[in-house]
Symmetry: C2
Protein backbone atom coordinates (compact mmCIF):
# COMPACT_ATOMS: atom_id res chain seq x y z
CA UNK A 1 0.00 0.00 0.00
CA UNK A 2 3.02 2.29 0.39
CA UNK A 3 2.56 3.96 -2.98
CA UNK A 4 -0.97 5.01 -2.14
CA UNK A 5 -0.11 7.30 0.78
CA UNK A 6 -2.24 10.40 0.53
CA UNK A 7 -2.58 13.23 3.01
CA UNK A 8 -6.27 13.54 3.83
CA UNK A 9 -5.93 16.26 6.49
CA UNK A 10 -7.40 19.54 5.38
CA UNK A 11 -6.35 23.14 5.30
CA UNK A 12 -9.24 25.60 5.24
CA UNK A 13 -9.69 29.24 4.31
CA UNK A 14 -12.93 30.98 5.14
CA UNK A 15 -13.45 34.63 4.34
CA UNK A 16 -16.45 36.75 5.25
CA UNK A 17 -16.70 39.95 3.23
CA UNK A 18 -18.59 43.15 4.04
CA UNK A 19 -22.10 43.27 2.53
CA UNK A 20 -21.11 46.32 0.51
CA UNK A 21 -18.42 44.53 -1.46
CA UNK A 22 -19.00 43.63 -5.09
CA UNK A 23 -20.47 40.10 -5.01
CA UNK A 24 -17.83 37.37 -5.39
CA UNK A 25 -20.07 35.48 -7.79
CA UNK A 26 -19.59 38.27 -10.34
CA UNK A 27 -15.92 37.32 -10.61
CA UNK A 28 -14.98 35.48 -13.81
CA UNK A 29 -14.16 31.77 -13.87
CA UNK A 30 -10.51 32.66 -14.45
CA UNK A 31 -10.38 34.23 -10.97
CA UNK A 32 -11.35 30.97 -9.28
CA UNK A 33 -9.13 28.89 -11.53
CA UNK A 34 -6.18 31.08 -10.56
CA UNK A 35 -7.05 30.87 -6.86
CA UNK A 36 -7.02 27.06 -7.16
CA UNK A 37 -3.78 27.11 -9.16
CA UNK A 38 -2.09 28.95 -6.30
CA UNK A 39 -2.90 26.10 -3.93
CA UNK A 40 -1.86 23.58 -6.59
CA UNK A 41 -5.32 22.13 -6.90
CA UNK A 42 -7.80 22.18 -9.80
CA UNK A 43 -11.55 22.19 -10.32
CA UNK A 44 -12.93 18.75 -11.24
CA UNK A 45 -16.67 19.42 -10.97
CA UNK A 46 -19.01 22.35 -10.37
CA UNK A 47 -22.63 23.24 -9.89
CA UNK A 48 -24.57 26.24 -8.69
CA UNK A 49 -27.63 27.01 -6.66
CA UNK A 50 -29.28 30.41 -6.80
CA UNK A 51 -27.00 31.56 -4.00
CA UNK A 52 -23.73 29.67 -4.22
CA UNK A 53 -21.24 28.22 -6.68
CA UNK A 54 -19.87 24.87 -5.54
CA UNK A 55 -16.63 23.44 -6.87
CA UNK A 56 -15.20 20.00 -6.13
CA UNK A 57 -11.44 20.30 -6.37
CA UNK A 58 -8.78 17.69 -7.08
CA UNK A 59 -7.94 18.31 -3.42
CA UNK A 60 -11.29 19.02 -1.72
CA UNK A 61 -13.73 21.93 -2.14
CA UNK A 62 -14.48 25.55 -2.90
CA UNK A 63 -17.77 27.28 -2.11
CA UNK A 64 -18.41 30.82 -3.31
CA UNK A 65 -21.33 32.85 -1.99
CA UNK A 66 -21.73 36.54 -2.80
CA UNK A 67 -20.00 37.64 0.39
CA UNK A 68 -18.48 34.48 1.76
CA UNK A 69 -15.80 32.14 0.52
CA UNK A 70 -14.88 28.69 1.84
CA UNK A 71 -11.98 26.72 0.43
CA UNK A 72 -10.76 23.36 1.72
CA UNK A 73 -7.67 21.64 0.39
CA UNK A 74 -5.85 18.47 1.41
CA UNK A 75 -2.88 16.52 0.02
CA UNK A 76 0.28 18.57 -0.39
CA UNK A 77 -1.63 21.67 -1.42
CA UNK A 78 -0.36 25.09 -0.38
CA UNK A 79 -3.55 26.91 0.52
CA UNK A 80 -1.59 29.74 2.11
CA UNK A 81 -0.59 30.82 -1.39
CA UNK A 82 -4.26 31.16 -2.35
CA UNK A 83 -4.77 33.32 0.70
CA UNK A 84 -1.82 35.55 -0.15
CA UNK A 85 -3.06 35.83 -3.73
CA UNK A 86 -6.58 36.73 -2.56
CA UNK A 87 -5.22 39.38 -0.21
CA UNK A 88 -3.52 41.02 -3.19
CA UNK A 89 -6.70 41.06 -5.25
CA UNK A 90 -9.32 42.29 -2.78
CA UNK A 91 -9.36 45.43 -0.65
CA UNK A 92 -8.53 44.69 2.95
CA UNK A 93 -11.40 46.93 4.05
CA UNK A 94 -13.77 44.55 2.23
CA UNK A 95 -12.72 41.66 4.49
CA UNK A 96 -14.75 41.38 7.63
CA UNK A 97 -13.04 38.21 8.86
CA UNK A 98 -10.54 35.70 7.52
CA UNK A 99 -9.95 32.28 9.05
CA UNK A 100 -7.11 29.95 8.10
CA UNK A 101 -7.28 26.55 9.75
CA UNK A 102 -4.86 23.67 9.38
CA UNK A 103 -5.30 20.21 10.83
CA UNK A 104 -2.30 18.22 11.96
CA UNK A 105 -1.10 16.06 9.10
CA UNK A 106 -0.52 12.32 8.96
CA UNK A 107 2.73 12.98 7.07
CA UNK A 108 3.89 16.46 8.11
CA UNK A 109 7.35 15.97 6.60
CA UNK A 110 5.77 15.78 3.14
CA UNK A 111 4.08 19.19 3.39
CA UNK A 112 5.48 22.16 1.49
CA UNK A 113 5.35 24.32 4.62
CA UNK A 114 4.50 24.14 8.31
CA UNK A 115 1.66 26.15 9.83
CA UNK A 116 4.24 28.40 11.47
CA UNK A 117 5.80 29.17 8.12
CA UNK A 118 2.34 29.88 6.68
CA UNK A 119 1.69 32.16 9.63
CA UNK A 120 4.85 34.18 9.10
CA UNK A 121 3.86 34.78 5.48
CA UNK A 122 0.29 35.75 6.34
CA UNK A 123 1.28 38.08 9.14
CA UNK A 124 3.19 40.22 6.67
CA UNK A 125 -0.13 40.87 4.87
CA UNK A 126 -2.83 40.79 7.54
CA UNK A 127 -3.02 41.19 11.31
CA UNK A 128 -4.51 38.50 13.47
CA UNK A 129 -4.10 35.89 16.15
CA UNK A 130 -3.18 32.22 15.91
CA UNK A 131 -4.05 29.34 18.18
CA UNK A 132 -3.33 25.66 18.60
CA UNK A 133 -6.19 23.44 19.76
CA UNK A 134 -4.88 20.11 21.08
CA UNK A 135 -1.36 18.92 21.85
CA UNK A 136 1.37 18.60 19.23
CA UNK A 137 1.76 14.81 19.26
CA UNK A 138 -1.95 14.00 19.22
CA UNK A 139 -4.83 15.20 17.07
CA UNK A 140 -4.75 18.98 16.92
CA UNK A 141 -5.33 21.91 14.59
CA UNK A 142 -4.05 25.42 14.12
CA UNK A 143 -6.29 28.42 13.58
CA UNK A 144 -5.48 31.94 12.43
CA UNK A 145 -8.15 34.64 12.46
CA UNK A 146 -7.77 38.18 11.24
CA UNK A 147 -8.35 41.13 13.53
CA UNK A 148 -11.98 42.05 13.27
CA UNK A 149 -13.69 45.21 14.43
CA UNK A 150 -17.24 44.10 13.76
CA UNK A 151 -18.52 41.13 15.68
CA UNK A 152 -20.59 38.53 13.80
CA UNK A 153 -23.96 39.98 12.93
CA UNK A 154 -25.87 36.72 13.23
CA UNK A 155 -25.76 33.26 14.68
CA UNK A 156 -23.29 31.27 12.62
CA UNK A 157 -22.30 27.75 13.59
CA UNK A 158 -19.93 25.38 11.83
CA UNK A 159 -19.45 21.75 12.83
CA UNK A 160 -16.47 19.76 11.61
CA UNK A 161 -16.38 16.02 12.27
CA UNK A 162 -13.05 14.35 11.47
CA UNK A 163 -13.33 10.57 11.44
CA UNK A 164 -10.59 7.97 11.54
CA UNK A 165 -10.38 4.25 11.12
CA UNK A 166 -13.86 3.30 9.99
CA UNK A 167 -15.74 0.06 10.33
CA UNK A 168 -14.41 -2.59 7.87
CA UNK A 169 -17.70 -2.78 6.02
CA UNK A 170 -17.57 0.95 5.25
CA UNK A 171 -13.89 0.78 4.34
CA UNK A 172 -14.63 -1.94 1.78
CA UNK A 173 -17.34 0.18 0.21
CA UNK A 174 -14.82 2.96 -0.42
CA UNK A 175 -12.13 0.57 -1.64
CA UNK A 176 -14.44 -1.19 -4.10
CA UNK A 177 -16.81 1.47 -5.40
CA UNK A 178 -16.31 2.56 -9.01
CA UNK A 179 -19.12 5.14 -9.17
CA UNK A 180 -19.80 8.01 -6.77
CA UNK A 181 -23.49 7.04 -6.74
CA UNK A 182 -22.69 3.62 -5.21
CA UNK A 183 -21.20 5.34 -2.19
CA UNK A 184 -23.83 8.06 -1.95
CA UNK A 185 -26.77 5.70 -2.24
CA UNK A 186 -25.39 3.01 0.01
CA UNK A 187 -24.65 5.43 2.83
CA UNK A 188 -27.55 7.80 2.12
CA UNK A 189 -25.21 10.77 1.96
CA UNK A 190 -27.90 12.80 0.17
CA UNK A 191 -30.31 12.13 3.04
CA UNK A 192 -28.32 13.67 5.91
CA UNK A 193 -30.32 16.89 5.63
CA UNK A 194 -33.46 17.82 3.70
CA UNK A 195 -33.85 19.98 0.58
CA UNK A 196 -30.31 19.46 -0.57
CA UNK A 197 -28.75 20.11 -3.98
CA UNK A 198 -25.52 18.19 -4.35
CA UNK A 199 -22.61 17.05 -6.44
CA UNK A 200 -20.15 14.26 -5.72
CA UNK A 201 -17.04 12.80 -7.29
CA UNK A 202 -15.05 9.60 -7.07
CA UNK A 203 -11.28 9.80 -7.56
CA UNK A 204 -8.88 7.30 -9.13
CA UNK A 205 -7.43 5.12 -7.66
CA UNK A 206 -9.64 6.04 -4.71
CA UNK A 207 -11.13 8.92 -2.78
CA UNK A 208 -14.56 10.53 -2.65
CA UNK A 209 -15.83 14.11 -2.28
CA UNK A 210 -19.32 15.54 -1.90
CA UNK A 211 -20.50 19.17 -1.88
CA UNK A 212 -24.07 19.94 -0.87
CA UNK A 213 -26.02 23.21 -0.75
CA UNK A 214 -29.15 23.96 1.25
CA UNK A 215 -31.16 27.17 0.96
CA UNK A 216 -29.45 30.53 0.93
CA UNK A 217 -26.20 29.93 2.75
CA UNK A 218 -26.08 26.44 4.20
CA UNK A 219 -23.80 23.65 3.01
CA UNK A 220 -22.23 20.37 3.92
CA UNK A 221 -19.17 18.74 2.46
CA UNK A 222 -17.63 15.29 2.84
CA UNK A 223 -14.14 14.13 1.89
CA UNK A 224 -12.95 10.55 2.15
CA UNK A 225 -9.33 9.40 1.96
CA UNK A 226 -9.47 5.61 2.04
CA UNK A 227 -5.70 5.12 1.75
CA UNK A 228 -4.09 3.23 4.64
CA UNK A 229 -2.64 4.02 7.09
CA UNK A 230 -5.06 6.58 8.33
CA UNK A 231 -8.40 5.96 6.62
CA UNK A 232 -9.87 9.41 7.07
CA UNK A 233 -13.23 11.09 6.49
CA UNK A 234 -14.01 14.74 7.08
CA UNK A 235 -17.50 16.15 7.32
CA UNK A 236 -18.29 19.84 7.67
CA UNK A 237 -21.52 21.76 7.79
CA UNK A 238 -23.08 25.05 8.83
CA UNK A 239 -26.61 23.65 8.69
CA UNK A 240 -28.65 25.42 11.34
CA UNK A 241 -31.21 22.76 12.15
CA UNK A 242 -30.30 20.21 14.81
CA UNK A 243 -28.08 20.30 17.85
CA UNK A 244 -24.37 19.50 17.74
CA UNK A 245 -25.26 16.17 19.33
CA UNK A 246 -27.94 15.30 16.80
CA UNK A 247 -25.78 16.14 13.80
CA UNK A 248 -22.70 14.38 15.17
CA UNK A 249 -24.64 11.24 16.08
CA UNK A 250 -26.17 11.16 12.60
CA UNK A 251 -22.81 11.49 10.86
CA UNK A 252 -20.90 8.98 12.98
CA UNK A 253 -23.74 6.49 12.65
CA UNK A 254 -23.19 6.60 8.87
CA UNK A 255 -19.40 6.25 8.84
CA UNK A 256 -18.91 4.25 12.06
CA UNK A 257 -15.44 5.57 12.97
CA UNK A 258 -13.49 4.19 15.92
CA UNK A 259 -11.98 7.60 16.56
CA UNK A 260 -13.19 11.09 15.68
CA UNK A 261 -12.73 14.76 16.48
CA UNK A 262 -15.50 17.32 16.73
CA UNK A 263 -14.76 21.00 16.11
CA UNK A 264 -17.48 23.57 16.69
CA UNK A 265 -17.35 27.26 15.73
CA UNK A 266 -20.22 29.37 16.96
CA UNK A 267 -21.11 32.92 17.91
CA UNK A 268 -22.29 31.75 21.35
CA UNK A 269 -20.30 32.45 24.51
CA UNK A 270 -20.26 28.73 25.23
CA UNK A 271 -20.56 26.11 22.52
CA UNK A 272 -22.75 23.07 22.66
CA UNK A 273 -20.66 19.96 23.21
CA UNK A 274 -21.02 16.51 21.77
CA UNK A 275 -21.69 14.08 24.60
CA UNK A 276 -21.42 10.36 24.00
CA UNK A 277 -22.08 7.30 26.07
CA UNK A 278 -20.23 4.87 23.85
CA UNK A 279 -17.13 6.94 23.08
CA UNK A 280 -14.55 8.25 25.53
CA UNK A 281 -13.37 11.83 25.26
CA UNK A 282 -9.59 12.11 25.21
CA UNK A 283 -9.19 15.82 24.46
CA UNK A 284 -11.30 18.92 25.03
CA UNK A 285 -10.02 22.39 24.15
CA UNK A 286 -11.93 25.62 23.89
CA UNK A 287 -11.35 29.33 23.24
CA UNK A 288 -13.42 32.48 22.99
CA UNK A 289 -11.79 34.31 20.12
CA UNK A 290 -11.57 38.10 19.95
CA UNK A 291 -13.38 38.03 16.61
CA UNK A 292 -16.61 36.95 18.27
CA UNK A 293 -16.49 33.21 17.65
CA UNK A 294 -16.08 30.46 20.22
CA UNK A 295 -14.22 27.35 19.10
CA UNK A 296 -14.34 23.90 20.73
CA UNK A 297 -12.21 20.90 19.87
CA UNK A 298 -12.85 17.42 21.29
CA UNK A 299 -11.45 13.99 20.45
CA UNK A 300 -13.31 10.75 21.03
CA UNK A 301 -12.12 7.16 21.07
CA UNK A 302 -13.76 3.79 21.17
CA UNK A 303 -12.09 1.95 24.05
CA UNK A 304 -9.90 -0.64 22.34
CA UNK A 305 -10.22 -4.28 23.36
CA UNK A 306 -8.57 -6.18 20.50
CA UNK A 307 -5.05 -5.86 19.20
CA UNK A 308 -3.91 -4.80 15.75
CA UNK A 309 -0.70 -5.86 14.09
CA UNK A 310 2.16 -3.42 13.71
CA UNK A 311 2.69 -2.64 10.03
CA UNK A 312 5.91 -3.23 8.17
CA UNK A 313 7.94 -0.46 6.53
Amino acid sequence: MKELLFEGSEKKMEVIFTPTKEPLRNYPDSFWKKLCDKAETRIVSRFSSSFCDSYILSESSLFVWDHRLLMLTCGQSSLVNSILSLLKKVKKSDIELLFYQRKNEFFPAKQKSSFKEDLEKMRKKIKGKAWCFGVPDEHHFYLFHSESESHPRQSDRTIEILMYDLDDHIKKLFFNATEASEIKNHLGLDQIFENTQLDDYIFKPMGYSLNALIGKNQYYTIHVTPQDPGFYVSFETNVEEGSVNEITEKVISLFKPFTFDVIVFSTEKKNEEFISESFTRSAYFTKNLDCGYTVNFSSFFTPITTDRSAFEL
Copy 2:
Protein backbone atom coordinates in the same frame (compact mmCIF):
# COMPACT_ATOMS: atom_id res chain seq x y z
CA MET B 1 7.19 29.57 26.91
CA LYS B 2 8.04 29.39 23.20
CA GLU B 3 11.78 29.52 23.73
CA LEU B 4 11.70 26.49 26.00
CA LEU B 5 10.44 23.98 23.43
CA PHE B 6 12.41 20.78 23.83
CA GLU B 7 11.85 17.45 22.14
CA GLY B 8 11.48 14.86 24.89
CA SER B 9 10.67 11.88 22.66
CA GLU B 10 13.45 9.32 22.64
CA LYS B 11 15.39 7.39 20.08
CA LYS B 12 16.88 4.16 21.39
CA MET B 13 19.63 1.80 20.30
CA GLU B 14 20.00 -1.54 22.02
CA VAL B 15 22.68 -4.00 20.96
CA ILE B 16 23.17 -7.53 22.26
CA PHE B 17 26.61 -8.94 21.48
CA THR B 18 27.72 -12.57 21.36
CA PRO B 19 29.20 -13.83 24.65
CA THR B 20 32.53 -14.48 22.91
CA LYS B 21 33.07 -10.83 22.01
CA GLU B 22 35.68 -8.79 23.86
CA PRO B 23 33.78 -7.12 26.73
CA LEU B 24 32.52 -3.63 25.87
CA ARG B 25 33.62 -2.37 29.26
CA ASN B 26 37.25 -2.87 28.20
CA TYR B 27 36.81 -0.10 25.62
CA PRO B 28 38.47 3.20 26.53
CA ASP B 29 36.50 6.27 27.60
CA SER B 30 37.32 7.86 24.27
CA PHE B 31 35.25 5.19 22.50
CA TRP B 32 32.11 6.15 24.40
CA LYS B 33 32.79 9.84 24.11
CA LYS B 34 33.02 9.44 20.34
CA LEU B 35 29.83 7.36 20.21
CA CYS B 36 28.04 10.19 22.04
CA ASP B 37 29.62 12.83 19.80
CA LYS B 38 28.15 11.09 16.78
CA ALA B 39 24.64 11.54 18.18
CA GLU B 40 25.48 15.13 19.17
CA THR B 41 25.10 14.43 22.86
CA ARG B 42 27.66 14.43 25.67
CA ILE B 43 28.26 12.69 28.98
CA VAL B 44 27.22 14.80 31.99
CA SER B 45 27.51 12.21 34.76
CA ARG B 46 28.68 8.61 35.20
CA PHE B 47 28.91 5.83 37.73
CA SER B 48 29.59 2.12 37.64
CA SER B 49 28.40 -1.02 39.36
CA SER B 50 30.43 -4.22 39.17
CA PHE B 51 28.58 -5.12 35.98
CA CYS B 52 27.63 -1.95 34.18
CA ASP B 53 28.81 1.56 33.38
CA SER B 54 26.00 4.09 33.53
CA TYR B 55 26.21 7.47 31.79
CA ILE B 56 23.70 10.28 32.00
CA LEU B 57 23.90 12.20 28.74
CA SER B 58 23.00 15.78 27.92
CA GLU B 59 20.20 14.07 25.95
CA SER B 60 19.28 10.98 28.00
CA SER B 61 21.31 7.84 28.83
CA LEU B 62 23.92 5.25 27.96
CA PHE B 63 24.32 1.90 29.73
CA VAL B 64 27.27 -0.34 28.92
CA TRP B 65 27.38 -3.95 30.09
CA ASP B 66 30.04 -6.37 28.88
CA HIS B 67 27.89 -7.73 26.08
CA ARG B 68 24.98 -5.35 25.91
CA LEU B 69 24.64 -1.69 25.09
CA LEU B 70 21.66 0.59 25.60
CA MET B 71 21.65 4.20 24.43
CA LEU B 72 18.71 6.58 24.65
CA THR B 73 18.77 10.06 23.18
CA CYS B 74 16.15 12.78 22.87
CA GLY B 75 16.15 16.40 21.64
CA GLN B 76 17.46 16.84 18.11
CA SER B 77 20.09 14.13 18.53
CA SER B 78 21.01 11.93 15.57
CA LEU B 79 21.34 8.52 17.19
CA VAL B 80 21.42 6.82 13.81
CA ASN B 81 24.94 8.25 13.36
CA SER B 82 26.08 6.51 16.56
CA ILE B 83 24.68 3.27 15.18
CA LEU B 84 26.48 3.70 11.85
CA SER B 85 29.70 4.53 13.71
CA LEU B 86 29.33 1.47 15.95
CA LEU B 87 28.73 -0.77 12.94
CA LYS B 88 32.05 0.41 11.51
CA LYS B 89 33.92 -0.34 14.72
CA VAL B 90 32.63 -3.78 15.70
CA LYS B 91 32.53 -7.00 13.71
CA LYS B 92 29.06 -7.76 12.44
CA SER B 93 29.45 -11.37 13.52
CA ASP B 94 29.80 -10.11 17.11
CA ILE B 95 26.31 -8.60 16.99
CA GLU B 96 23.58 -10.98 18.04
CA LEU B 97 20.79 -8.43 17.75
CA LEU B 98 20.44 -4.71 17.18
CA PHE B 99 17.30 -2.71 17.89
CA TYR B 100 16.73 0.88 16.83
CA GLN B 101 13.52 2.41 18.13
CA ARG B 102 12.19 5.89 17.54
CA LYS B 103 9.13 7.38 19.14
CA ASN B 104 6.99 9.86 17.25
CA GLU B 105 8.18 13.37 17.99
CA PHE B 106 6.27 16.36 19.31
CA PHE B 107 8.09 18.52 16.74
CA PRO B 108 9.03 16.22 13.85
CA ALA B 109 9.90 19.12 11.55
CA LYS B 110 12.79 20.04 13.87
CA GLN B 111 14.46 16.64 13.62
CA LYS B 112 17.61 16.20 11.54
CA SER B 113 16.14 13.13 9.84
CA SER B 114 12.98 11.06 9.68
CA PHE B 115 12.89 7.41 10.73
CA LYS B 116 12.60 6.44 7.07
CA GLU B 117 15.79 8.32 6.27
CA ASP B 118 17.51 6.65 9.23
CA LEU B 119 16.28 3.32 7.96
CA GLU B 120 17.70 3.83 4.47
CA LYS B 121 21.11 4.60 5.97
CA MET B 122 21.06 1.61 8.31
CA ARG B 123 19.91 -0.83 5.65
CA LYS B 124 23.05 -0.13 3.67
CA LYS B 125 25.03 -1.52 6.62
CA ILE B 126 22.88 -4.16 8.27
CA LYS B 127 19.92 -6.32 7.27
CA GLY B 128 16.73 -6.26 9.24
CA LYS B 129 13.05 -5.49 9.42
CA ALA B 130 11.23 -2.31 10.42
CA TRP B 131 7.80 -1.82 11.89
CA CYS B 132 5.43 0.95 12.91
CA PHE B 133 3.37 0.43 16.05
CA GLY B 134 0.43 2.84 16.17
CA VAL B 135 -0.99 5.19 13.55
CA PRO B 136 0.91 8.14 12.07
CA ASP B 137 -1.15 10.98 13.52
CA GLU B 138 -1.41 9.57 17.05
CA HIS B 139 1.17 8.20 19.48
CA HIS B 140 3.30 5.65 17.68
CA PHE B 141 6.86 4.40 17.38
CA TYR B 142 9.10 2.84 14.78
CA LEU B 143 11.26 -0.20 15.41
CA PHE B 144 14.10 -1.68 13.39
CA HIS B 145 15.62 -5.00 14.38
CA SER B 146 18.54 -6.70 12.72
CA GLU B 147 18.24 -10.16 11.22
CA SER B 148 19.11 -12.61 13.95
CA GLU B 149 19.88 -16.29 13.58
CA SER B 150 19.99 -17.10 17.28
CA HIS B 151 16.81 -16.60 19.26
CA PRO B 152 17.07 -14.99 22.70
CA ARG B 153 18.73 -17.39 25.10
CA GLN B 154 16.80 -16.30 28.16
CA SER B 155 13.73 -14.48 29.30
CA ASP B 156 14.28 -10.79 28.69
CA ARG B 157 11.51 -8.27 29.25
CA THR B 158 11.64 -4.52 28.82
CA ILE B 159 8.82 -2.21 29.86
CA GLU B 160 8.67 1.37 28.59
CA ILE B 161 6.10 3.73 30.09
CA LEU B 162 5.74 7.05 28.26
CA MET B 163 3.75 9.57 30.28
CA TYR B 164 2.14 12.82 29.17
CA ASP B 165 0.48 15.74 30.86
CA LEU B 166 1.08 15.05 34.55
CA ASP B 167 -0.88 16.16 37.55
CA ASP B 168 -0.28 19.87 38.29
CA HIS B 169 1.30 19.13 41.65
CA ILE B 170 3.95 16.95 39.99
CA LYS B 171 4.47 19.47 37.20
CA LYS B 172 5.20 22.19 39.76
CA LEU B 173 7.77 20.00 41.46
CA PHE B 174 9.68 19.70 38.19
CA PHE B 175 9.32 23.39 37.36
CA ASN B 176 10.54 24.55 40.75
CA ALA B 177 13.17 22.04 41.88
CA THR B 178 16.77 23.26 41.89
CA GLU B 179 18.41 20.01 43.09
CA ALA B 180 17.95 16.51 41.71
CA SER B 181 17.55 15.20 45.25
CA GLU B 182 14.40 17.30 45.80
CA ILE B 183 12.72 15.46 42.93
CA LYS B 184 14.09 12.04 43.80
CA ASN B 185 13.17 12.26 47.48
CA HIS B 186 9.76 13.80 46.98
CA LEU B 187 8.67 11.18 44.49
CA GLY B 188 10.66 8.31 46.02
CA LEU B 189 12.29 7.56 42.69
CA ASP B 190 15.00 5.54 44.46
CA GLN B 191 12.33 3.35 46.06
CA ILE B 192 10.66 2.00 42.93
CA PHE B 193 12.72 -1.20 43.17
CA GLU B 194 14.96 -2.62 45.89
CA ASN B 195 18.77 -2.87 46.01
CA THR B 196 19.32 -0.04 43.57
CA GLN B 197 22.48 1.94 42.83
CA LEU B 198 21.64 5.19 41.10
CA ASP B 199 22.67 8.53 39.73
CA ASP B 200 20.46 11.45 38.78
CA TYR B 201 20.88 14.88 37.25
CA ILE B 202 18.89 18.09 36.99
CA PHE B 203 19.26 20.19 33.86
CA LYS B 204 19.15 23.97 33.40
CA PRO B 205 16.69 25.57 32.82
CA MET B 206 14.77 22.36 33.49
CA GLY B 207 14.75 18.62 32.90
CA TYR B 208 15.63 15.60 35.01
CA SER B 209 17.31 12.25 34.31
CA LEU B 210 17.89 9.19 36.47
CA ASN B 211 19.87 6.02 35.76
CA ALA B 212 19.59 3.09 38.16
CA LEU B 213 21.32 -0.30 38.24
CA ILE B 214 20.18 -3.44 40.02
CA GLY B 215 22.23 -6.63 40.27
CA LYS B 216 23.99 -8.06 37.27
CA ASN B 217 21.99 -6.75 34.32
CA GLN B 218 18.89 -4.95 35.48
CA TYR B 219 18.29 -1.20 35.16
CA TYR B 220 15.70 1.50 35.14
CA THR B 221 15.93 4.97 33.73
CA ILE B 222 13.69 8.03 33.93
CA HIS B 223 13.73 11.17 31.78
CA VAL B 224 11.56 14.19 32.39
CA THR B 225 10.94 17.02 29.92
CA PRO B 226 8.85 19.58 31.78
CA GLN B 227 8.67 22.07 28.91
CA ASP B 228 5.14 22.87 27.71
CA PRO B 229 3.46 21.93 25.47
CA GLY B 230 3.93 18.25 25.97
CA PHE B 231 5.15 17.71 29.53
CA TYR B 232 6.66 14.29 29.03
CA VAL B 233 8.20 11.60 31.25
CA SER B 234 9.69 8.36 30.04
CA PHE B 235 10.38 5.37 32.27
CA GLU B 236 12.10 2.22 31.11
CA THR B 237 13.17 -0.92 32.91
CA ASN B 238 14.12 -4.55 32.40
CA VAL B 239 13.63 -5.41 36.08
CA GLU B 240 12.43 -8.98 36.28
CA GLU B 241 10.42 -8.89 39.48
CA GLY B 242 6.79 -7.89 39.23
CA SER B 243 4.17 -8.17 36.52
CA VAL B 244 3.68 -5.57 33.80
CA ASN B 245 0.58 -4.47 35.69
CA GLU B 246 2.36 -4.11 39.02
CA ILE B 247 5.25 -2.11 37.58
CA THR B 248 3.02 0.12 35.44
CA GLU B 249 0.65 0.83 38.33
CA LYS B 250 3.59 1.73 40.55
CA VAL B 251 5.09 4.12 38.03
CA ILE B 252 1.88 5.89 37.03
CA SER B 253 0.93 6.27 40.69
CA LEU B 254 4.15 8.28 41.14
CA PHE B 255 3.84 10.57 38.11
CA LYS B 256 0.05 10.70 37.81
CA PRO B 257 -0.16 11.20 34.03
CA PHE B 258 -3.47 11.83 32.26
CA THR B 259 -2.22 9.95 29.22
CA PHE B 260 0.43 7.27 28.82
CA ASP B 261 1.73 4.57 26.51
CA VAL B 262 3.00 1.17 27.60
CA ILE B 263 5.46 -0.71 25.40
CA VAL B 264 6.48 -4.24 26.35
CA PHE B 265 9.27 -6.28 24.76
CA SER B 266 9.47 -9.88 25.88
CA THR B 267 10.62 -13.29 24.71
CA GLU B 268 7.16 -14.76 25.37
CA LYS B 269 4.77 -15.68 22.55
CA LYS B 270 2.18 -13.39 24.06
CA ASN B 271 3.05 -10.41 26.24
CA GLU B 272 1.39 -9.53 29.48
CA GLU B 273 -0.83 -6.49 29.02
CA PHE B 274 -1.46 -3.60 31.31
CA ILE B 275 -5.12 -3.61 32.27
CA SER B 276 -6.62 -0.57 33.96
CA GLU B 277 -10.00 0.24 35.39
CA SER B 278 -9.49 3.99 35.56
CA PHE B 279 -7.86 4.57 32.17
CA THR B 280 -9.32 3.87 28.75
CA ARG B 281 -7.22 2.14 26.14
CA SER B 282 -7.17 4.00 22.83
CA ALA B 283 -4.56 1.95 20.95
CA TYR B 284 -3.28 -1.62 21.14
CA PHE B 285 -0.74 -2.94 18.65
CA THR B 286 1.30 -6.12 18.83
CA LYS B 287 3.82 -8.07 16.76
CA ASN B 288 5.82 -11.30 17.12
CA LEU B 289 9.16 -10.33 15.63
CA ASP B 290 11.33 -12.80 13.71
CA CYS B 291 14.17 -12.13 16.13
CA GLY B 292 12.34 -13.90 18.96
CA TYR B 293 10.82 -10.92 20.74
CA THR B 294 7.17 -9.99 21.02
CA VAL B 295 6.36 -6.29 21.18
CA ASN B 296 3.13 -4.71 22.48
CA PHE B 297 2.15 -1.06 22.33
CA SER B 298 -0.88 0.37 24.12
CA SER B 299 -2.06 3.92 24.77
CA PHE B 300 -4.22 4.91 27.71
CA PHE B 301 -6.24 8.05 28.38
CA THR B 302 -8.07 9.47 31.32
CA PRO B 303 -11.53 10.31 30.03
CA ILE B 304 -11.57 14.11 29.84
CA THR B 305 -14.36 16.01 31.56
CA THR B 306 -13.02 19.56 31.79
CA ASP B 307 -11.88 21.85 29.03
CA ARG B 308 -8.45 23.35 28.45
CA SER B 309 -7.71 26.58 26.69
CA ALA B 310 -6.20 26.58 23.22
CA PHE B 311 -2.71 28.06 23.34
CA GLU B 312 -1.58 31.07 21.38
CA LEU B 313 1.17 31.00 18.79
